[in-house]
Symmetry: C2
Subunit: 322 residues, 2 copies
């Protein structure tokens, strides 16, 4: 698969900010000015501000030929509709693709943000050339995306890849969408902090609030803190249990872990690998790559831009063939 030849604007629409980049293949050529997501009264208002930023970027980069947008929520990529956004009110069945195409005159692709990141890591990042990939983003929530048979797999209602909502304990605590024992309720940022507080207290230490962020816990483990080191083994084992289920079900050749928690590095990756190795047959794990994401916080704009550029190229090709 060759990289798209077209230059596209990649937009990473997050709960906090909307980021813009001019992207060619895997390369960020330029960046736009971010918008504050919560600073707008309606989806119409933020869409108008996005169109203005796009217009400014195109003055600097007239070669821009497509737009791709990744958004956190239920996105119908094929239909071009945003059904709803997590943590952003006022988005209900917005025809984002056609609205943005009408405002800009450019072809537009839209996608769920975790799927856009997965796509970027597969096309240009840590999972290149693997046909079957699960990409997991670890943060406040746990999201994910799937590449299966060399294609982005969306599922029947664009909902595939939600590993954070899969359960590791059928009698566990309820998660936000109703599942019991969803792994997100064990390894989300808040849950890791809560577990750390508990483990420090069990060790007779009263931790301050700053000591229990993923970053501080990584630094503490680096500095030889045995509670923090044991905590990462515990978190990795829990995450490994959830990934073991994915491995039995999908027999992938690559698992990519991204997001803030993944920065804990080998102290998180080792118990994940050990858990999967202990709980699956050899043919499932012997050639399984378990790797950190390579594109960092740019994966969102790179993946969105690639999807935009590829959709534009496919539609050009189609009109040529007619």
């Amino acid at each position: 698969m060759t990289a798209p030849a077209l230059t596209a604007i990649g937009i990473d629409f997050g709960g906090t900010s909307v980021k813009f980049a001019i992207v060619r293949g895997p390369a960020i050529v330029d960046r736009g000015t971010s918008l504050e997501t919560q600073g707008f009264a309606s989806s119409d208002a933020i869409l108008e501000a996005m169109a203005q930023e796009i217009a400014r970027l195109r003055e600097r980069h007239p070669e821009v030929a497509a737009i791709g947008v990744g958004l956190p929520g239920m996105v119908d990529a094929e239909g071009g509709i945003v059904h709803e956004l997590s943590n952003v009110p006022g988005w209900c069945d917005v025809a984002l693709r056609s609205v943005l195409a009408a405002k800009t005159g450019l072809p537009v692709a839209i996608e769920n943000d975790a799927k856009a990141m997965t796509y970027a890591e597969w096309r240009f990042g840590a999972a290149q050339d693997y046909p079957n990939v699960i990409c997991v983003t670890l943060g406040t929530g746990v999201g994910g995306g799937l590449i299966l048979g060399g294609r982005l797999y969306r599922g029947s209602a664009n909902g595939a890849g939600e590993i954070g909502q899969t359960s590791i304990d059928h009698r566990g605590v309820p998660a936000v969408y109703g599942n019991l024992g969803a792994v997100e309720k064990y390894v989300g940022n808040r849950e890791i902090a809560e577990l750390a507080r508990q483990r420090y207290r069990e060790a007779g230490v009263e931790p301050d609030a700053q000591a229990c962020t993923p970053k501080a816990l990584s630094q503490a483990a680096d500095g030889g803190d045995p509670v923090a080191a044991a905590l990462w083994t515990e978190v990795g084992t829990l995450l490994g249990a959830a990934l073991t289920n994915v491995v039995w079900l999908l027999n992938p050749d690559c698992i990519v872990l991204g997001g803030g928690v993944a920065k804990a590095g080998e102290r998180l990756f080792k118990p994940i690998r050990d858990t999967i190795a202990a709980r699956t047959m050899e043919s499932y794990h012997q050639r399984l790559a378990i790797v950190p994401a390579a594109l960092g916080s740019d994966a969102g704009v790179i993946g969105a831009a690639a999807l935009g550029a590829e959709a534009a190229e496919a539609s050009l090709q189609e009109s040529k063939n007619r």
Copy 2:
């Protein structure tokens, strides 16, 4: 997708018997004489007996143009190799496809038996026209297969679809291949019997051995036995927990349940549906079909024959295009 035009011999190679059928599309035209799997000293010996039965069938049906074989174990469908068989000793890296092709002069396809059954249910049975399907076989073990994006999905080492080995409790009891809390250890035939004995005793009843088979437990529930009725709800809820994880991960549009345990019918299907509905978002379950397998014990030979016929047709087409 049209049904294959070629007539093929479908072979369902089980741990107990090897069954033969002459198959055209979804129709069983004739049946061969079964072999006893354990009655042969080596894989060579049973392969020779299979070739003889194939020759006999071809005398009656000279139109046979392909062979398909489904087997219980690690089958490399693309490479034509059987890596190992569950419950059948002496099968280690057998080049079944080329051996059988040399013995018969016919094109041969081989496949894992659960995947062959899945393929049959998708092409001709309960999951027709659904692009994303999980098919689960409930028996002593719990197996499965996946159709994703309108194709049989095998995974990177032909291991995909093993829902029986996925866990519903990360601290649960160990299963045969190392996972803890694998759902097979809760809803396999033996485990259902054990759970039934336990529930009867809790109710102050000492059950006889015959009372705890899936069939007897279904009849007891039909007859108004409250212990048996509650047991099916419990089993369905456990199976529903495992399927909920599949739904979050793959967002399928159809789940097919086959095998002996699935004959418990609505008393098993209702708690499965209720569990998935309670533990997923509406968009994941509102259009999700959860249905019994339609082809029964013929799914194996029908699926194997279809895979054989289609492989033969594809290779005919390829040589025409050259």
